[in-house]
């Protein structure tokens, strides 16, 4: 896109050709009123308040594209009249209940009513009953709704559930005299508004979605509110603590809204989580799973001295990736000083994957990020249950399709109705477990630059192709001439006579033809749907920006090394930009900072995981530790960003830093380590307090800093192994969480109520003799456990899913690394 200059209210501003006028204005700090437009989503033209004059013609700023030399005037007398009338219309029958409204103080209706100086009302219509609805985690009050459709737009264009839509209001038509007397746009907007309110796409009574709460976040008024938040506090009473979500590797920006607990207690309490919804979209875990802090009354000196003793005795520290970079560095320093073995299997496999990837790519990290995926038009996801592994990757996939007329391929063994529901242009391909290499070979075959790819690979790929004769039905157009009798009125006599006329017409005729076609054996191996070549051809039309996301299934795959190398080859020799999705919150940080070991020693300190002596932020260990929402520090995200997070609720106990200090390291605060993060791994030597956490008006992310992608010496060996035929057959189980759950930390929160157990798809349950709530014993080659059946309509097919968020379930014990396994399941 090229840079152009336009003039807004006499000020010359630079923008991209094709950018919406509204965005160009916002980027240059020029205010244009706008209600229904959501950055990163498509304009709906519901509010029409963004009227401006472009080269003398009235246009809507949110959908008028900037052209070189355009001259924009943001207010004229007529526009002012329109805006005032629009605001009056919004206030028609709007209850005067700001006093008890959860949106009060941050309500766009309040703001614009004041901004437009609406102090009298000229319009009226009879109201219709609009009862409030309880939609599980949301509360919808149509009485307050201004039908801006932002909720609908966010759910469709960003999240992808498309759970909301406009439904008929059942109102009387507008008084016809308004058509004459009202400003034109205001009338048109009212006419539309008067016909609808918001309802559920499913037509049912209960919202059944992935529960992100983004719709309530974008609602400009108090119509959609999080159920847990209703009437608990006024927005202005809360202090907003800028932070980073600690639940997954997306590292979303959030604010903890914090206020005292009650009239008696000054203890800060988190009332809700908010976000800069124009630039980041949260999932339900980030939005509703905020009260996972470890409440500790004071320093337990006895436990602390025991901990120090234990550290002196121990030779191993075992930990999870739900820790900050600074804590990871403390562990690394302890290792350097005392030779502890550091055990973190999930981060180690990821670290190894990155190393193998670097050997071919020559870079320490992947080249792209989710931001770029949002702007791509052909996105492929392989090796992850995308909606639960990294919700933001799913949003990027959906958003790219909706906004850029994009398309995509989703490769995964577990059927996913949510992904299928994103739209026809994202084709789901359910391959067999262990066949991920075949998928990557297929991508190389379809998209790789055969000129540049190593010769052996090209030959290997060619070996899957064969020429076969196929009978193809073809439709051809044929000219046929026939004589038909037509009735005509004789001009002279006026009588109807019959004449014969010759007519030629084109008819379609289906003929069968034997044609030689190229048969790609990889198609069958991967299990693509019928007519895949044709579908793909259609999907690929006019596509320019390609993105590939690979995920955690790869890292523990028995052939992860080969997968890493294939991934690197795709990035190198195809148009795909690559994102590698880290498995947990800070797996990337840990993988960069820590030297991880394979074998445990004899005495283990566990940090958020069981050890001979356990430090735990979950409150169940021998010594308490602060949870992420009680700490300052940084987290490294899938976007390769080092994001700062702040303390929302106090912590009064000991921290890892206190133990480190007792063991001879020296740092007053944990965040003293921020500037010491390893520069050779791509970190920057910056103080914690220097790290920003906001967005510019033009959408530029200014959060922390982006890791430097370091050059890694590659040996020039680009060989990859052919893929094996081995797959898993029989009853399969998969290690993944339901949406909104990630770790025992999300499990601990009040609002996230997902049940633990064996997740079986609704579809499967209907045809099997398992029922929800049944107690079952699951046995695999690695172990066995007993749990209950949970019915899940967000997965489909025959593969059962076992979550990791419940530490009592200990589901990992059934797997030997790879996320799929064969299992026998019986009712007990």
């Amino acid at each position: 896109m090229s840079k152009i200059t336009i003039t807004i209210d006499g000020k010359e501003v630079e923008t991209q050709a094709g950018e919406y006028v509204l965005n160009a204005a916002r980027a240059n700090n020029i205010f244009i009123p706008a209600i229904c437009y959501l950055t990163r989503c498509s304009p709906t033209l519901a509010c029409r308040i963004c009227l401006v004059e472009a080269d003398g013609k009235q246009v809507y700023a949110c959908n008028a594209k900037a052209k070189e030399g355009m001259n924009i005037v943001t207010t004229t007398e007529n526009i002012e009249k329109e805006r005032r009338a629009i605001m009056e219309v919004y206030d028609v029958n709007h209850p005067l209940q700001c006093g008890v409204c959860d949106q009060s103080g941050e309500c766009e209706l309040q703001n614009y009513t004041l901004e437009m100086g609406v102090d009298s009302q000229h319009y009226a219509i009879k109201d219709v009953p609009r009862p409030a609805k309880d939609w599980d985690h949301l509360h919808y009050d149509p009485g307050l709704c201004i039908v801006c459709e932002r909720c609908v737009t966010a759910c469709k264009d960003m999240i992808g559930d498309t759970s909301l839509k406009t439904v008929p209001r059942g109102s009387d038509p507008l008084d016809p005299q308004y058509k004459e007397s009202m400003p034109k746009d205001a009338y048109a907007m009212w006419n539309k508004l008067n016909k609808s309110i918001i309802g559920l796409t499913s037509g049912g009574d209960m919202l059944d979605c992935t529960k992100c709460g983004e719709c309530a976040a974008v609602c400009p008024v108090g119509a959609l509110v999080d159920t847990h938040y209703i009437y608990t506090t006024n927005a202005w009473e809360c202090e907003q603590i800028p932070a980073t979500c600690g639940h997954c590797s997306a590292g979303c920006q959030i604010y903890y809204d914090v206020k005292h607990t009650s009239i008696e207690s000054d203890e800060p309490k988190i009332y809700r989580v908010t976000n800069e919804w124009n630039y980041v979209s949260l999932c339900g875990a980030g939005r509703y799973g905020f009260d996972y802090q470890n409440k500790v009354e004071g320093k337990d000196e006895e436990a602390f001295s025991k901990a120090v003793e234990a550290f002196k005795k121990a030779d191993t520290i075992s930990f999870t990736s739900t820790i900050t970079n600074e804590e990871a560095l403390i562990l690394q320093r302890l290792k350097e000083k005392y030779g502890y073995k550091l055990i973190n299997e999930e981060a180690r496999s990821f670290q190894k994957f990155l190393k193998d990837y670097s050997e071919i790519s020559g870079q320490s990290l992947w080249g792209s990020d989710l931001e770029e995926v949002h702007h791509s038009d052909f996105v492929v996801s392989v090796g992850m249950a995308i909606k639960s592994d990294n919700p933001n990757a799913r949003y990027a996939l959906n958003n790219s399709m909706k906004m850029n007329k994009g398309a995509g391929l989703y490769f995964h063994p577990v059927k996913d109705p949510v992904i299928e529901g994103l739209g026809k242009n994202i084709v789901s391909i359910y391959h067999k477990p262990l066949q991920e290499e075949a998928v990557l070979y297929l991508l190389l075959d379809l998209f790789g630059d055969k000129e540049k790819l190593p010769k052996e690979i090209v030959e290997y790929l060619a070996s899957f192709h064969s020429k076969v004769m196929e009978t193809k039905k073809e439709v051809v157009k044929k000219k046929v001439t026939e004589t038909v009798k037509v009735k005509k009125v004789d001009e002279e006599s006026g009588e109807e006579i019959e004449v014969e006329e010759e007519k030629t017409k084109m008819v379609n005729e289906t003929i069968e033809k034997e044609v030689e076609v190229d048969k790609n054996a990889l198609f069958d191996i991967v299990g693509v749907p019928a007519k895949f070549s044709e579908t793909l051809e259609k999907l690929l039309k006019k596509k320019e920006k390609f993105a590939l996301m690979v995920g955690p299934d790869f890292y523990t795959h028995p052939n992860s090394k080969n997968l890493a190398r294939l991934t690197a080859l795709i990035e190198k020799y195809s148009p795909f930009k690559l994102v590698i999705v880290p498995p947990l919150t800070n797996s990337l940080g840990v993988a960069l900072i820590n030297e991880l070991d394979e074998e445990k020693g004899s005495f283990t300190i566990g940090y958020n995981t069981k050890g001979d002596f356990t430090l735990s932020a979950l409150g169940d260990g021998d010594l308490d530790m602060p949870a992420i929402n009680q700490q300052e520090g940084t987290l490294t995200s899938v976007n390769k960003r080092v994001n700062p997070t702040n303390q929302a609720v106090p912590y009064r106990g000991y921290e890892l830093n206190d133990i480190a200090n007792a063991l001879g390291l020296e740092a007053e605060l944990t965040v003293d380590y921020t500037k010491e993060l390893p520069v050779e791994k791509g970190f920057e030597s910056k103080d914690f307090d220097e790290l920003p956490n906001y967005w510019e008006n033009d959408g530029t992310e200014v959060r922390g800093y982006v890791l430097n992608n370091m050059t890694v010496e590659s040996k020039g060996d680009e060989s990859v192994k052919p893929f094996g035929e081995e797959t898993l057959e029989g009853q399969l189980i998969y290690l993944a969480n339901p949406v909104r759950q990630f770790t025992p930390f999300t499990h601990k929160t009040t609002n996230l109520d997902e049940k633990s157990g064996l997740y079986i798809s609704e579809e499967y349950l209907q045809k099997s003799d398992f029922n929800e709530g049944d107690s079952v014993r699951i046995t695999t080659d690695s172990g066995e456990l007993t749990t209950t059946v949970v019915c899940d309509n967000k997965i489909a097919g025959d593969i059962f899913v076992l979550p990791t968020f419940d530490k009592n379930l200990n589901s990992e014990a059934l797997f030997s690394g790879y996320r799929f396994n064969r299992a026998s399941i019986e009712k007990v």
Binding site: C98, G99, A124, A132, Y231, T232, N234, I263
Partner: protein, 205 residues
């Protein structure tokens, strides 16, 4: 600047005059002279004599507090009251939190919740009288004429933190039903010409 020049632009009456105040003594000797002059001028004894005389005559002008109390003006700003609606007796406070926000000594705190009738309910409400400066802002901002000041000014306590709770302030239900509740007329009360200032909204019924 002449003596009254600074007041020129003020809308003051003609009767204002400046007191003739002696210059302050500067040297220790002058100060000493002033003390002696004031002490022995005899005014002290004049005062004592008046007191003695009135005591003997039993002509007492002061209020016999606490037996006697002066009536308090309807606009006096003492300890707060929470009013109820006249007709139904329901509490007027809707829990909007404006009083909490506007309070400049930050002494109002409240807890609200979503109740069974899908309404906002005020669970707890407190004013820390140890900090309240009785400025009347809360009464002025209250959209419901719920919180007002009252005439109760006797609030001695052993503790500065002594605070009052919702129940302490709320008009007893019997009072309102027996029409004994009194509207506050001070800060935040409805002004006499309120009706004229209203703009009417058209209705389509």
């Amino acid at each position: 600047m002449s003596n009254t020049e600074m007041f020129k632009d003020r809308n003051i009456s003609e009767d204002y005059f400046l007191l003739d105040i002696e210059d302050y003594p500067t040297t220790p000797w002058e100060k000493f002279k002033r003390v002696v002059k004031r002490s022995f001028k005899g005014e002290l004894f004049v005062g004592l004599w008046v007191v003695l005389r009135e005591m003997i005559k039993f002509d007492i002008h002061t209020i016999q507090y606490p037996e006697e109390k002066l009536p308090i003006g309807p606009r006096y700003r003492a300890v707060h009251e929470m009013k109820r609606l006249w007709e139904s007796g329901t509490e007027r406070c809707i829990g909007c939190g404006l009083c909490e926000k506007i309070c400049i000594s930050n002494c109002i705190r409240m807890e609200t919740r979503y109740d069974e009738n899908q309404r906002k309910e005020v669970g707890e409400y407190s004013i820390n009288l140890g900090r309240c400066i009785f400025c009347g802002y809360c009464a002025e901002v209250c959209p419901e004429l719920a919180i007002t000041h009252g005439g109760e000014y006797e609030n001695a306590s052993e503790q500065r933190e002594h605070f009052i709770l919702y129940e302490d302030m709320l008009t007893p239900i019997d009072d309102v039903l027996n029409k004994k509740q009194r509207e506050f007329q001070g800060f935040g009360a409805i002004t006499p010409h309120e009706d004229e200032r209203l703009k009417k909204t058209p209705l389509a019924y």
